[in-house]
């Protein structure tokens, strides 16, 4: 737990450095093309605290963020935290369901592949998982749209809900669910490939260990050896992957959201980049890092549960 504090601090420092790398001045961004007098610029700089020495700015910045204040958008003037909280739910829905489904099926596929190494099934699973792992997610999104939305017309191609009809109650939820299918599939396939690949190699590694040979010589059935002995050990690196890769999944979510016009954090991020809305951009950076740090902590706890050798005091 304590280890997370310097991490949060480090992320804040990193974003502070990033903002101060900005060539020119924020005032030019705020002013846009409007001609401002020298007094007006000085006033803006003063109101943003830019006229004070750097260390003072830094202290104010850190204190503000520690109070949960991520600043205000240059463009919409809204609180950055509010902007983020308005959208983060959509991103988490999109990220979470595929993560759970894909992890479970990935572990099963990985175990299946490892039980008969170099068999036809193993080769097929390995081939598909390395291909899935190599396909850029936004292109996978295009392919899904081309086939399942445009050709077959099974699912809507983009958006959160159908705009042409007014729906209420369960019908609305169902409609949202239908919109979720394709983006969630894109993200899920990526995760599936990753988990399968890692489960397989980590199963293969634990199947060569001495205690497995010992279990075999005891005459235990192969099923028990695979699931109770080998898998339990092999799950450790897989847990780390699933937990620690949450940031990777969020990255995938940003790209997927862009492809499917899903109204989550990705849209906010891309808009903030193009509008040069730096408070939103850095606020997002801090916020997602915070999510990742929490994800890592949860992973460590899960790890302690799975591995009896580790006990945190």
């Amino acid at each position: 737990m304590v280890g997370a504090i310097p991490l949060v601090f480090g992320v804040v420092v990193l974003t502070f450095i990033l903002i101060h790398l900005t060539p020119g001045d924020v005032t030019t961004v705020i002013a846009g093309d409007a001609p401002l007098s020298v007094e007006q610029i000085t006033e803006i700089r003063r109101s943003l605290g830019l006229d004070r020495p750097l260390y003072e700015q830094f202290v104010t910045y850190v204190l503000r963020i520690l109070q949960g204040d991520l600043g205000y958008s240059y463009i919409s003037r809204k609180s950055v935290l509010e902007l983020i909280l308005d959208r983060v739910g959509f991103t988490l829905v999109l990220t979470f369901a595929p993560m759970v489904l894909a992890s479970i099926s990935g572990i099963m596929l990985g175990v299946m592949a490892s039980r008969n190494q170099y068999s036809l099934g193993d080769n097929a699973i390995s081939a598909i998982s390395i291909i899935g792992y190599s396909i850029p997610i936004f292109w996978l999104g295009h392919l899904l749209i081309l086939v399942f939305a445009l050709q077959l017309d099974w699912f809507p191609a983009q958006g959160l809900i159908s705009l042409r009809v007014r729906l209420e109650g369960p019908a609305l939820w169902l409609d949202m669910l239908r919109h979720l299918v394709l983006p969630a599939t894109a993200l899920g396939l990526l995760q599936l490939a990753l988990v399968t690949r890692l489960t397989r190699s980590s199963m293969l590694e634990s199947l060569t260990q001495d205690y497995i040979t010992w279990a075999r010589s005891k005459g235990l059935p192969e099923r028990t050896i695979t699931f109770k002995h080998a898998l339990r050990n092999a799950l450790l690196p897989v847990t780390t992957l699933v937990g620690y890769q949450f940031g990777y999944l969020l990255t995938g979510a940003v790209l997927t959201e862009t492809v499917f016009a899903w109204p989550g954090l990705g849209r906010l991020l891309v808009d903030s980049v193009f509008l040069r809305d730096f408070p939103v951009l850095t606020g997002l950076l801090i916020f997602v890092s915070f999510i990742v740090i929490i994800g890592n902590l949860l992973t460590d706890i899960a790890y302690a549960f799975l591995d009896p050798r580790i006990r945190y005091g």
């Binding site: 390395i130 295009h142 990742v292």
Partner: protein
Amino acid sequence: MKSDEASQMTGTRKSYLRIVKFWRLYRKNRAAVLGLVVVTGLSILALGAPLVTSFEPLRLVARPFQSPSSQHLMGTDHMGRDLFTDVLYGARTSLQIGFLAATTSVLIGTIVGALAGYYGSYKDEILMRITEVFQVVPRLFLALAAVAIVGPTVWNVIWVIGLTSWPTTARLVRAEFLSLRERPFVEASKGLGAGDIQVIWGEIFPNATSSIVVNSSFEVARAIVLEAGLSFLGLGDANVASWGRTLQEAQSYLQRAWWTSLFPGLFIALTVLGLNLIGDGLNDALNPRLRER
């Protein structure tokens, strides 16, 4: 003098034999050989682009939205640019950024990891804390913010990817150094009076190269994916052909012109797949622990 020459001869001979031995092992993994063929082929196509296509990249050369034909192998896009040409030149951009960015990140990661692993104690602690900070900020977010600030040129993208991607290598090299620094040959060389730098680069580093090499192949793949992601989100260099940007533009015309998305995406996937297969093959050939399975 003469014995010097002789030992040099055996030195060359030795490294020659090592390459032969390595190739024999590598060749066993057919997928890895396929990966090598794909990446070599793509590199040749990228370098020889002006010989393969008669058009220039990003030029409007024909009617828009023509489906693939003998004239325009991959069709034309919404502005009437020849897609085949843009995909070939896009390979140049991707490979250039991928290799240079990976070189940068591997270099930084190796130095950070080597120093942390060799010196240990508080130096290790500080360096690893910094590494962790870079690991918890999702790479695309960080790279996006950085490129937005410094401006999307090819060189900036290379720097940004290099400067945001080094933690993987750093952790890996640190782990290698931690285990290697306790070995007798390191003790011996220290006992003979070798300085820190000599021990780090002369003794430990050569023993860590195989993991670094394996990792580098994956790093190039990751850098290419990240670059494609950045330009897909609109933060690529607008002056060069780029697979990511072509895909971004294709998005608005999926219904009308599927080929504008299919081909550039296929090339990204092939390149990344090739590099990942090479990485797997290198791992099998260079990592003796897994070899005899």
